[in-house]
Amino acid sequence: MGSLIECKNVWKIYRVGDVEVHALRGLSLTIEQGEFVAIMGSSGSGKSTLMNILGCLDQPTQGRYRLNGTEVGDLRADDLATIRNQQIGFVFQSFNLIPRTSALENAQLPLFYRGLSLKEQRTQAAAALRRVGLLGREHHYPTQLSGGQQQRVAIARALVTSPSLLLADEPTGNLDTQSSQEIMKILETLNHDEGITIILVTHEVDIAAYAAREIMIKDGQILTDRVTGTRPDSSPIEA
């Protein structure tokens, strides 16, 4: 079996009016199952575009992207939706929970689109909420939860389908230091204990430090790609 993620010479070109914007310029990248990777770069470097492509929300203009052996480049929108539903979990900077909808129902959402029975959805979503330490808050609305708690609901929503890849786009960007650490520890545990591959986009060096590999992106290309050494199995975890 090959790598989880294989990008070969990926280009992404947008057209804004008459101007062509080259967001990605022939980027190649391989990520193995079970890795914890931080992607860093200034705004406009192309890291968001890369995340969108890795998350199957977007497709490369040129080049190849294989996820778990599936060539994503020429899939239709509904097939991409299936891949996102079954293999990818998203965690966003702004949490992106559905407003006026309980934590449980937010966590149920991917299972709803998977067509599971309501009972099955509830059981699995409740289990996911328990894993992120939100037992007893299933029926709270997002507005009744703190930022850190909301982000945990989002992680539960990402986890509920047992994805092979978890994409976290600045997951701590809107959180205080305390909550940030809690969230990062949850991610670390998921990577370490359950072998979920995590790709993390961040500005902050101390957040990036949780990852075992750090990729710097600039002008749509990889600037540096280095193993920072601290594999999760070597660092102590206090949840």
């Binding site: 998350g55 929300l57 509904d78 939706a81 996102r84 998203f90 689109y113 599971l116 309501l118």
Partner: protein
Amino acid sequence: MAAFVWLTILTALRILGRNRLRAGLTMLGIVIGVAAVIAMVSIGEGAKRAVQAQIATMGTNVIIIFPGVTSASGVRGSAGSAVTLTVSDALDLKKRIPLLADTGWARRDVMQIVYGNRNWNGPINGVSPSYLIIRDWSFTSGGPFTQTDLDSAARVALIGQTIVENLFEPGEEPVGAVIRIKNVPFRVIGVLAPKGQSAQGSDQDDLILIPFSTAERKVFGTPFIGSVGAMFGSTEQVEDLPMAAAQIREVLRARHRLQTEQNDDFTIRTQVDIGKVQEGTSETLTMMLFAIASVSLLVGGIGIMNILLVSVTERTKEIGIRIAVGAKRYHILMQFLIEAMTLSLVGGTLGIGFGIAGAKLTTLIAGWPTIISGNVIALAFFSSVAIGLFFGLYPANKAARLNPIEALRYE
């Protein structure tokens, strides 16, 4: 799939429940449209049924033949002014046309009727006994006159309800009483059961029926024995009326020795013709109301589309989240279609309720008969589903085609 639809309906209800005022205002167009359709059609149907009942009071499957117009040197008289139909015409028609179950004849004139110290001016009809059967008259007391009465020109009379009310004290028994018509004494032998207004609006109960021969010889006086004011025929089946009418025309033209270029000297009307005129009026009314209701439904549909477009914009980010976690196009499409259909269905159901209430209220207040038909309710129900589907399609499709990246970034 069933779980998906069910949960989507619940979600739709919850979202609509959150914006009750908005949902209510959006539904208003559909509510009014559907209520208008139900109420109007119920009133229209009621009116139609009332007209049909009135026409039925003419008798069953009746053909009426009036004498034609006189035409002397180009000056034409009014209908019935010619003395062209006779008793022998009527008898001959029955003999020659097997389709005719019976024929009858009548002459009428308005005369003074006196009983005790009261008098009344009412139409006196000299009729054949068969007339009673053709026009379907029944009796509240007493009974009809017979062929013997006709043969002997007996002075017997049948009186209508209006005559009873105007000549007799309340509670007084008219049967057996002697009334005078143009100073000729008549014994009342029967009181006719009331028929109410005719399709033309005249009082059908304001009449006295006496044997034709008695009228001709003892009351009216006539320059031409055997001439009649009108002839009546009846058929077994309503479908036979046009054919019978055509045959009557042929026989009468032959009997009157009319050349091909000459016009008929009589006019034939069937019950169907008379009914058609009435139904035509009520159908025009119904069509007009349908047009008004359709416009209202159209406006209601546009209202739903409008509010759904607003909703799609408001919930762009939510749609983005749903797509990101794996919603396919049809999931999003279905979600908004179901919302649209929930709006239109709830509106339609409310409209049906208001429509029925409106119809009942009309009966209660104005006293108009209304008939609420299941067909109309079903039609209203399905048209509201169709409106939701049709006007929801564009906003739903717009939502389903959102780009997830842009939708997620939407604030």
